[in-house]
Amino acid sequence: MQIPRPHPPFESGTTVEVRIPSRLGFEKVAMSTAASMARLMGFSEDRVEDLQTAVAEACINAIEFGNRLNRNHTVGVVLSMTPGELEVRVIDKGEGVSRVNSHHDIDRKMRGEEDFRGMGMFLIQALVDEAEWVPRAAGRDAYVRLAIRLDKEIQGVDGN
């Protein structure tokens, strides 16, 4: 079944940029912005909440590990709408991750054999359609790229 969508009040390629301080709690500003854009595109509330959590985790990692809570640095959040996809880039001043560690083992955590924290990457990968960590390179800051796609949305609603 094709799901009717509201007429999009934006042009393809619309981009919004937000800069948040490197202070925990400000990830909520990025969450709100991402939610507003996802709703404008017609994503369901379930998918909006998934994206919000993924954006929050990416921002927290950028604040804590990328910018190391340095108040002189901000975290950039660039949100781009395309006809079928909402992409979010979360940019910080760190080196970026050389190896994506999305491993999470609840049994090891419950036995005290693994740090309780460290679930951010795991959650990000579980909640969005695409997640990519790009290390810093010459002339370019490190970033994580998240994306949710409308075709996945229709599949999810139909239960396929």
Binding site: G25, H104, F116, L123
Partner: protein, 104 residues
């Protein structure tokens, strides 16, 4: 006796004292059966989930029983994703959570 810890607002890395501190302040004889009430929680992130896992680990070591209720559907999803449901039960409301202790 069942003890109920009611959380509200945010559960994040900034909530360590509120979450674990409250748990640690419970006397041992009040830890046997504990309910965690999430119905007032607006925001929960991976650091907050880590605090809950920490609490569940300590409860397990002490042979205490902890159950959760009042989680929004999205938070239930997050808890299922990380596997917390392998170690505790999620209930929709306080009445059903209490009833589950009676049935245990």
């Amino acid at each position: 006796m069942v003890s109920v810890l009611r959380f509200s607002g945010d559960i994040s890395s900034l909530s360590r004292d509120a979450v674990l501190g409250t748990w640690h302040q419970l006397p041992d004889d009040a830890k046997g059966r504990v309910l965690l009430d999430f119905s007032g929680v607006d925001y929960l992130n991976s650091s907050g989930i880590a605090l809950v896992i920490n609490m569940l680990m300590e409860a397990r070591r002490g042979a205490h029983s902890v159950r959760l209720f009042g989680l929004r559907p999205h938070f239930q999803k997050m808890f299922r994703l990380v596997g917390i449901t392998n170690y505790t039960e999620l209930h929709p409301d306080e009445a059903s959570a209490l009833e589950s202790f009676g049935a245990a």
